[in-house]
């Protein structure tokens, strides 16, 4: 295994392996992010911060419906002003571990994205992730910014004007043409793309209660059920743009990560897998990915990245 190189560099930031803790999973504080980093993640994403404090939705907020998860947590966060302090502490703890920190954020207006970006940049994260695709973040027309190429590009431009940090734009699968969105944010200056955010929204109804179980009624679908859609989105995006892509969606095993990388992903987001396999999942993914690479004579991720695009 020692001759294998699992590292990847995204926007000049070195990840010792391609596995990135996805936003919204465990990212609530410095101590838990440090734990994830120590358990073998290549990079970690903190929970999304917005312009002001948000309580989030009442429970139930997350459910295991059998083939995946559904969630409507509602972006609870203390607001970016408090967030900067939390991110600074996190960055401090991650630095000696050599694990990069990705700061995710959202806002409700284009201008707001620029303002939050400017504030959050003070914490000195390695990368920014612009969350334009959470089903809970909508523009004045009731659509997430990720649903419209123009809106997605405007947000990207605004953030790139506000800070010099490399910016990842997180896209939604719930669009007619994800390639158009990807091209728009690339042209607007996005340094990378992460995809996909949750699918849906979906709904699970309790047939005894006769009502939706989530307090918010609808929520985003994640987990194994969405993997084929995530892989297709990553494939489409990688065929349309040349910036790096973090492939996210239902990756539970090293083999699933191989699939994402073959679709063109440079790195792979890990979310629901923390539920299915525990926080120790990062070490196991690394072993499974290494085993696959050894068996196939691959020494580096670049040896098979995007091979599915060539066929």
């Amino acid at each position: 295994m020692s001759r294998l190189d699992l590292s990847v560099t995204i926007c000049g930031v070195l990840l010792k392996n391609p596995f990135v803790l996805a936003s919204g999973i465990l990212g609530t504080g410095a101590a838990i992010l440090e734990r994830v980093a120590r358990s073998g993640a290549g990079a970690v994403t903190a929970k999304s911060y917005g312009p002001g404090p948000r309580a989030g939705y009442p429970n139930p907020t997350v459910l295991d419906w059998g083939s995946g998860l559904i969630n409507a947590v509602g972006l609870p966060n203390p607001g970016v002003e408090v967030g900067v302090g939390e991110l600074l502490e996190t960055k401090e703890r991650l630095r000696p571990l050599g694990v990069p920190l990705i700061a995710s954020f959202f806002a409700d207006t284009v201008k707001g994205y620029g303002e939050v970006a400017r504030t959050i940049a003070q914490a000195g994260p390695d990368l920014l992730e612009i969350n334009i695709s959470c089903p809970n973040v909508e523009d004045e027309f009731g659509q997430p910014f990720a649903a419209d190429p123009r809106a997605a590009a405007q947000v990207t431009l605004e953030v790139k004007r506000a800070t010099s940090l490399p910016a990842i734009v997180k896209l939604s699968p719930n669009v007619a043409d994800i390639k158009a969105i990807a091209r728009a944010v690339e042209q607007a200056g996005a340094d990378a793309i992460s995809a996909i955010n949750t699918l849906g929204p979906g709904m699970v109804i309790d047939i005894e209660a006769g009502r939706p179980i989530l307090a918010h009624r609808v929520g985003g679908i994640s987990g194994p059920a969405i993997r084929p859609i995530a892989v297709r989105c990553v494939y489409d995006i990688c065929s349309a743009v040349s910036i790096p892509v973090i492939g996210i969606g239902g990756v539970l095993r090293g083999q699933d990560a191989v699939e994402m990388i073959m679709a063109g992903a440079s790195a792979v987001g890990i979310g629901s897998a923390v539920y299915y396999r525990g926080p120790g999942v990062f070490k196991r993914l690394e072993v499974e990915l290494s085993t696959y690479m050894e068996a196939h004579g691959y020494a580096r991720l670049a040896d098979f990245r995007g091979v599915a695009l060539e066929g």
């Binding site: 465990l26 101590a31 429970n59 139930p60 907020t61």
Partner: protein, 255 residues
Amino acid sequence: MDTPGWRISGGSPLRDRLPRVATVARVIPETSKVTTFVLDAAIKARPGQFLMVWLPGVNEKPFSIVCPDPLTITVANVGNFTAALHRLVPGERLWYRGALGRGFRLSGRDILLVAGGYGAAPLHFLALAARDSGMAVRVALGARAQEDLLFPGRFAGLGCRVWTCTEDGSFGESGLVTDLLQSLADQHRPGSVYACGPQAMLQAVAGICEARGIPYQVSMERYMRCGMGLCGSCAVAGRRVCRDGPVFSRLPPGS
């Protein structure tokens, strides 16, 4: 999904973990503020594990399992959700997910349970299991006042030796349950101590047990959202109370 060597620590794609419905079979008043609900359900659970109890249209919150069969929870009326639970009468329904979390590990022939206030709830299940495996069980119960003292009769009924204290001296000895623990620990040298209660009490329990070299486990209470180890809402010093706990064999440092 059947990859060899997989230890599924979460759910299974073949089986959902959605809320299950249960009917309230019996409602037992415990104190002026606390009521026990016996459900017409039974589950497999370990002492110390908890349920996420859902009332449609109200909320979903964690509760210790007081007994797995028949499934029983004990609820203090402290807010909107618990007030709604208290309005339930036999024949009405509630929903639950679980058993969730990591429970107590039983060890030693002779154990001491230490409960602060409503912390008695999970320890009742532990006392049941300990009695069934033939252990000698001592219980130290503490509360602010007599009306907050939970389960003195239930523990005695299980054959436990029970000591009680209240902060205002209205029942049992006057003082903190950790004072009681100190004297019981020195007198009886329990093989293990199991505690549940407020954070300050658990910290004191940890200190007393560590000073005497007595192994201990504590059950922590925290605000919880997903209950599945994903959202991070209940994280304390990097540990997820819902999934790494609620029972810890050491208090997480810095908690």
